[in-house]
Symmetry: C2
Subunit: 296 residues, 2 copies
């Protein structure tokens, strides 16, 4: 179970071809064939059917192991390299769509002003991708958001020893078209909204599946699915009557045609966490420290 062998196995399974995998990995066709043969010998099972090439049941199972395994291995390499290499004046930040609250943009602006020579990049990505890329040092810092119970950490995939620190918490609110019958209410209970029409925007708003889990019912049916990550587009869809959306309250305020009504959900709060390796020096560490000192 040499990682090299696992890597070529994954490549072969993904591309469905020994020769293509060989090209991808810079090996000859023969080497790839030998890799698979030794792996199959070692494990005592056929992993791939040939002609056409597709994983067997055992192969599928091994793939489920191999992915996370190789990811962790890459993460370990990258993490040690990050500890060892000289710190560069370069920061790449991954941000999930609702993570960047005003409290957090302030330290970013401060760094921009006090360190104009640092090269800063911000990328909007999903929580899972951010976690993975922070672990593998493709990102220096992640800002991930999600709904949880207070004092409960966000549940992120465990790829390696990363530091996650909660920095901001915001109450959930439902976005309603201004003329909606409930738009004048000062507060709503989550259960009251189970039968409404919803927009399913799993990459941007709170996923409807999570509302069902939290309330224990199976309401919150979607009338439209939005696959982008732009909150303003999503709210425009809500304003146009396509359905409701649950978002952190500050994200909704001040949008024309939309009213935000606070939702009292049982122990459900929107939280942003700073995710980073615990490096102690260099620009990313300084920014991480600044972000982690934010409260609100």
């Amino acid at each position: 179970m040499d990682p090299h062998l696992l890597r070529t196995f994954v490549a072969v399974a993904r591309r469905g071809s020994f020769s293509e995998a060989a090209r991808e990995l810079g090996y000859t066709q023969s080497a790839v064939s030998q890799h698979i043969a030794t792996l199959e010998n070692d494990l005592g099972a056929v992993l791939l059917q040939r002609r056409p090439v597709s994983p067997t049941a055992v192969g599928v199972r091994l793939l489920e192991h191999a992915g996370p395994l190789l990811l962790r291995l890459d993460a370990a390499r990258a993490d040690i390299a990050r500890l060892t290499a000289a710190p560069a004046a370069r920061i790449v930040i991954g941000v999930s769509p609702l993570a960047l609250t005003p409290q957090l943009t302030r330290p970013l602006a401060d760094i921009r002003r006090t360190q104009p020579l640092w090269d800063m990049t911000v990328r909007v990505l999903s929580r899972e991708v951010i976690t993975r890329q922070v672990a593998t040092a493709d990102l220096d810092i992640g800002l991930v958001d999600g709904m949880t119970a207070p004092n409960d950490p966000l549940h992120l995939p465990d790829i390696g020893p990363l530091t996650a620190t909660a920095v901001t918490e915001q109450p959930p609110a439902v976005a309603l078209p201004s003329q909606h019958p409930l738009a004048d209410r000062t507060g709503l209970r989550l259960a009251d909204l189970a039968d409404a029409r919803w927009i399913d925007a799993p990459d941007t708003a709170i996923p409807l599946a999570q509302l069902r889990t939290a309330s224990g019912t199976d309401g919150y049916r979607a009338s439209l699915r939005y696959e982008g990550t732009d909150v303003r587009v999503l709210l425009a869809l809500t304003a146009a009557g396509h359905g409701l959306t649950l978002l952190p309250q500050p994200s909704i305020e001040g949008i024309p045609g939309i009213k935000a009504v606070l939702v009292s959900a049982p122990r459900l709060i929107h939280r942003t966490e700073v995710l980073h390796s615990n490096a102690v020096e260099g620009p990313p560490a300084l920014l991480a420290a600044a972000l982690m000192s934010v409260t609100g």
Copy 2:
């Protein structure tokens, strides 16, 4: 970053000696030295101080990666072997102290009766150990318990693709000495008990830290710590006035000198989950299926 090298690195760090690690792994002193040298060369960093042998800062970091990494690797090997090997008439079950409810002992008794030739073993272990050993096939089935919000899975370490299925849910109750002033109440709120004296029994009862997290206060101070896993001993301590304990309600009923009072905690419930690899045939799979069909 060959896993072999990582393994010897971990061994050297644990035993604090190249020669002892060599003995443990069946290598010569020289081979271990070469392993560490190639690893340090590969990563471009000194991992160990010599004389005395102890990990450097980078080494400590690598150890944090290496443990889970090697665990996952072992789990993958064991899992594939389990899929490949012929099923034996042998079942080893790991059980966390409060997981074995009456609903779950019934399928166990059924199997015992219908399959008297099968060799069944039950071991009481911690949640973490059970998860690890189910992943590495030291156990066939795990029964793990814990407190969570309804519909929320137990938070178990992610070692590999295991199937976790919730089977029983029980309300939390506080165990009180019969003469305790609150013993006649029919129900209590968790917050009412923050200032009481508690027994800290993290391996048996609900950990006090989790009560603090759930209620957002820092009460629930421990007057005594119990490190065993025997519920009756724990309840005897409570009966003797050493402090209160929070347990699933059925575990407390019918104990002399003890009254159980239901505790309404905000969305906190005691759940048992069946943990197993998704093998499809053999005695463990049959028992797992029987256990998973339990509801309550």
